[in-house]
Symmetry: C2
Subunit: 242 residues, 2 copies
DNA sequence: CTAACATTTTTCCAACTGGTCAAAATTCTT
DNA sequence: AAGAATTTTGACCAGTTGGAAAAATGTTAG
């Protein structure tokens, strides 16, 4: 697991308005949308980067445009030139996030072998927790607030994806390839255990202490989680427990 | 698992100042502290209740005194009569929380049988996620923000407790009573999987849908988690996995 | 080089923020 | 019931917030 450290929060390019203000993300109507200038592309990226920093720590309401502008190294009105609304920045981050975030689950292949598939799903999720902790926290923050801005996406896109993958898991269970348990809660537990290392990072570090809280903690976590899920999923007769 | 639905966020009584303002929580110096009046006790509880609602959703920075006052059904100045500082309310909630929150782990007894002990720890944590979701979210919010207000408690009290319990787990592993894995990450995974049902409640409900997302979801979760951890911890030879 | 456009800065605003204060209203004690 | 203490209210304040407007400055295609 080598840290890729990708930047660019979002590369999908958006439309630009007519004269002064850069149009809202959704290119509605027949608004002729000129391609973004170099400066626009650069500055939008810088702003989104800065906003990710701030929003992921303080949530939407707890973050201010001033803060974001400062991190981005520009003045507030200047920032507002690129994103006329605070909400707009947040929405861009969130929607870019959801795509990335669900990619690993999407990759879980019904045609593959169950254990390798599940194991590599866990591994990928853990890598994301390590390499994109801010994205994880942004998502967590949104959840804590009741997901006001993404509830529909959760209820539709996410739900559909999970339904589909739960079916895959069920098939594997039917074939006796993995233990029979609740596929939904299985997915939840993978999310929970992996994202924990991003969302509760402070706690994890503090508890592990300087000796074990270094970068190695992700290796340890990967090893542990593999063991937990592997032996918890191996089909066999229950062992007698005193 | 019957829902207890306890109220009273905090029962620990605090000192009151001389004439006008109710003294800060910390009863320092020789400030003669009259016992709290009935009204003071009642109103403080109402305020803390309301503050828990608000802080747990929006975090410290994202919450306003006005908001809390409105939920509490009183005017802002009136609220400030009881808690002169916004931080004071938050601190009271957090410190009351930490005690409650760690109780289940504290109860894990080295003298007991490993599996029953671990199983009932998981069960208790899950019950807390079900019965005190706001407390869970308050904690999560604080973590996401880097735990600025409780980092010392995490680094000292929490760390010590976890160190102690990790030792207990290690002993059990040495005795061959549970599988040998990383005890710290084991504890993390219990925290993560159980608290997930409070912190990501919206997501869990949305994904499970109306049919399975009702109150029964905690039963299902309990069953699933028991299976996951039980078979994941049963000491035995690794099964060959294709 | 320059007009047309893009970007940045300056100034400003109304609403909201945490918090103060004195006066008014209520409750408690005797 | 009266006086003292407690509780509540209304008016107010300085700093912050999201955002508007326009002037000033830069950039670039022809």
């Amino acid at each position: 697991m080598g840290p890729p450290k990708v930047k660019n929060v979002e590369s999908a390019v958006m439309a630009k308005g007519e004269a002064k203000p850069i149009a809202a993300t959704t290119a509605k109507s027949g608004a002729k949308s000129r391609p973004l200038t170099r400066i626009q592309r650069e500055k939008q990226d810088i702003i989104l980067e800065a906003a990710l920093d701030v929003f992921s720590m303080h949530g939407f309401r707890g973050s201010t445009i001033d803060q974001i502008a400062e991190v981005a190294g520009m003045s507030k009105p200047n920032l507002l030139y690129y994103f006329p609304r605070k909400e707009e920045i947040h929405r861009r981050l969130i929607s870019a996030l959801l795509v990335t975030w669900l990619a690993p689950l999407r990759e879980m292949d019904a045609a593959g072998d169950p254990f390798p598939e599940i194991r590599s799903y866990i591994r990928r999720k853990l890598e994301m927790a390590r390499d994109f902790p801010r994205e994880s926290r942004l998502f967590a923050n949104e959840m804590l607030q009741g997901a006001p801005r993404i509830i529909e996406m959760i209820e539709v896109d996410l739900k559909n994806l999970v339904d589909e993958k739960a079916d895959v898991l069920l098939t594997w269970m039917d074939q006796g390839k993995i233990a029979r348990t609740d596929p939904y809660h299985l997915i939840f537990s993978i999310w929970a255990t992996t994202q924990h290392y991003a969302d509760f990072d402070v706690q994890v570090r503090a508890v592990l202490g300087p000796a074990r809280g270094g970068e190695g903690r992700f290796e340890d976590a990967a090893r542990y989680l593999e063991h937990l899920f592997l032996y918890g999923l191996t089909p066999r007769q229950p062992v007698t427990v005193k």
